[in-house]
C-alpha cells in the first residue's frame, strides 16, 4: 500500500462524509460545511495525483497544485456569499434552514 492509495481512499472518505452531510443536514451553516468537506475531498484527489510522480527527481506536478490553489480561493468566495445569504434569510425570516418542514 502506498501513500497514493491512502490519500485517494481518504479523498473518497471525505466525499462520503460531505455528500452524506449535504443530504441529511438542515441548518444552512451545516450545508456549507458539508460543501467545503466535499471540495476538500476533490482537492485531496487532485494533489495525491500530483504527488504520485514525486518519486522522480522532477518533483510534484505543478498543474494540479495551481488548479487547487484556484479552487481554494473559489471555495472561500462561495462560502462567503452563501453565508451572507444565510444571514440575510435569518435576518428577514428568522429561519436557519430551507426545508419545508421547518416552516411550521
Amino acid at each position: 500500500m502506498s501513500s497514493y492509495v491512502v490519500y485517494v481512499v481518504g479523498a473518497g472518505l471525505l466525499l462520503v462524509v460531505g455528500v452524506h452531510g449535504a443530504l441529511t443536514a438542515r441548518h444552512l451553516v451545516r450545508l456549507i460545511l458539508a460543501l467545503n468537506v466535499m471540495s476538500g475531498g476533490v482537492f485531496l484527489a487532485l494533489i495525491a495525483i500530483s504527488a504520485r510522480g514525486a518519486g522522480s527527481a522532477a518533483g510534484p506536478d505543478p498543474v494540479p497544485q495551481a488548479l487547487v490553489l484556484t479552487g481554494i480561493v473559489v471555495a472561500v468566495s462561495i462560502t462567503a456569499f452563501v453565508l451572507a445569504l444565510a444571514r440575510r434569510i435569518h435576518a428577514l425570516s428568522g429561519r436557519t434552514s430551507l426545508s419545508e418542514e421547518d416552516l411550521e
Partner: protein, 313 residues
C-alpha cells in the same frame, strides 16, 4: 509499513472523523471550530504531499479566513437547531448508501488510475525558464494558465459584489462603532499587524522563485484586515464607494490590460513579451494581491454588518 505511511493513515482517519464531527456537531460553534481543525489538518496533508503553496493557502484561507467567517456567522444564525426529526429506517440508510456508493466509485477509479507519465507537469518544468518566473506553480498560475487565474480573480470580484448586493450597501459601515475593543485583541494587533504586513510582502516577493505568491500574500494581508475589523474598525470602511470599487477591480483590470497588451504585441491574449515578462508578472501580482486582500476583507466584514440586519429584521 513505514512510519511515514502510518502517519498518512492516521492523518486521513483523523481528517474523516473531524469532518464528520464538524458537520454534525450539536453546537454549531463547535462545528465551526472543528472545521478550522479540519483545514489545519488538510494543510498538513498538503505538506506531506509536497505542496507547500497549498499548505500556506489552506492554513491562511481554508482554515483561517473561512473559519473566521463561519465563527462570525454562527454568532448570528447559530440558534440552537431544532431537534432533528426522527427519520424512518430508509431515511437514515438512503443518504449513507448514496454517499458511500459515490465515494467508493470515486476512490476505486482513483486507486486503479494508471500512472502513464508524460504529464503536463513535465512540459511545465521543461519550459518554466521561458515564463519569466522560476517557481513552477507561479508560472502555471500567472503565465501558462493565466486565463484561469484571471477569471478566478473575477470570481472573487463577483462574490464581493454579490455580498455587497445582498447587504444592499455600496460601502462598508463599521458594524459596532461604539463598542470598545478588548484589550488583549488590541495588544495582539500591535504585535501581529506589522509582522503580518511584512510576511505578506515577503510571500508576494518570494512567489517568483519559491512557494508563496499573490494568493498567499493576499490571504495574510486580509487576515490583518480582519483582525482590524474585529477591533470595530473595518479597514475599508473609511473609503468612498468609488475608491472601494477601484480597490476591488484593480487586480482584474490590470490582468485584463496585460492580456490586451499581449494581444497587441504578441498577437495572443495574455502572452507577455519575453523581455518584459518578469516585470509584467510582478505588476499583475501586486495588483491582484491588493484586490484579493480587499475582496477577502470585504467578504468577511461585509457579511457581518449588523446594523443592516437590525434594520431589515
Amino acid at each position: 509499513m513505514t512510519a511515514g505511511l502510518l502517519f498518512d493513515i492516521a492523518l486521513v482517519v483523523g481528517l474523516t472523523i473531524i469532518a464528520f464531527r464538524a458537520i454534525h456537531a450539536p453546537d454549531l460553534f463547535v462545528g465551526a471550530v472543528l472545521y478550522i481543525v479540519f483545514g489545519l489538518l488538510l494543510a498538513l496533508v498538503w505538506v506531506r504531499l509536497n505542496a507547500p503553496d497549498l499548505a500556506l493557502a489552506e492554513a491562511a484561507i481554508g482554515a483561517g479566513i473561512t473559519g473566521a467567517m463561519l465563527l462570525d456567522a454562527v454568532r448570528q444564525v447559530g440558534s440552537p437547531a431544532r431537534r432533528a426529526p426522527v427519520l424512518t429506517r430508509i431515511g437514515r440508510v438512503a443518504p449513507w448508501a448514496g454517499a458511500v456508493g459515490l465515494g467508493a466509485v470515486a476512490a476505486g477509479a482513483l486507486v486503479t488510475l494508471e500512472d502513464r507519465g508524460g504529464t503536463l507537469g513535465e512540459m511545465v518544468r521543461g519550459r518554466v525558464a521561458e515564463s519569466g518566473v522560476d517557481h513552477p506553480v507561479t508560472a502555471v498560475l500567472l503565465v501558462f494558465r493565466g486565463y484561469d487565474t484571471w477569471l478566478e480573480v473575477g470570481v472573487l470580484l463577483v462574490a464581493a459584489i454579490a455580498v455587497l448586493g445582498v447587504r444592499r450597501t455600496r460601502v462598508l459601515v463599521p458594524s459596532e462603532p461604539s463598542s470598545e475593543a478588548p484589550p488583549i485583541a488590541t495588544a495582539a494587533a500591535g504585535v501581529l499587524l506589522p509582522a503580518g504586513v511584512l510576511i505578506g510582502g515577503f510571500l508576494l516577493w518570494t512567489g517568483s522563485h519559491a512557494p508563496g505568491g499573490a494568493f498567499q500574500a493576499a490571504a495574510v494581508l486580509a487576515a490583518m484586515g480582519i483582525l482590524v475589523s474585529l477591533l470595530g474598525r473595518p479597514p475599508l470602511a473609511s473609503l468612498s464607494a468609488l475608491r472601494l470599487r477601484l480597490l476591488l477591480v484593480c487586480g482584474f483590470t490590470t490582468f485584463l490590460a496585460a492580456g490586451v497588451v499581449g494581444l497587441l504585441v504578441e498577437d495572443a491574449f495574455l502572452r507577455y513579451p519575453a523581455a518584459a515578462a518578469g516585470w509584467i508578472i510582478t505588476v499583475i501580482e501586486l495588483a491582484v494581491t491588493v484586490s484579493i486582500a480587499a475582496s477577502l476583507v470585504l467578504l468577511f466584514a461585509g457579511g457581518r454588518d449588523r446594523a443592516a440586519d437590525e434594520a431589515a429584521g
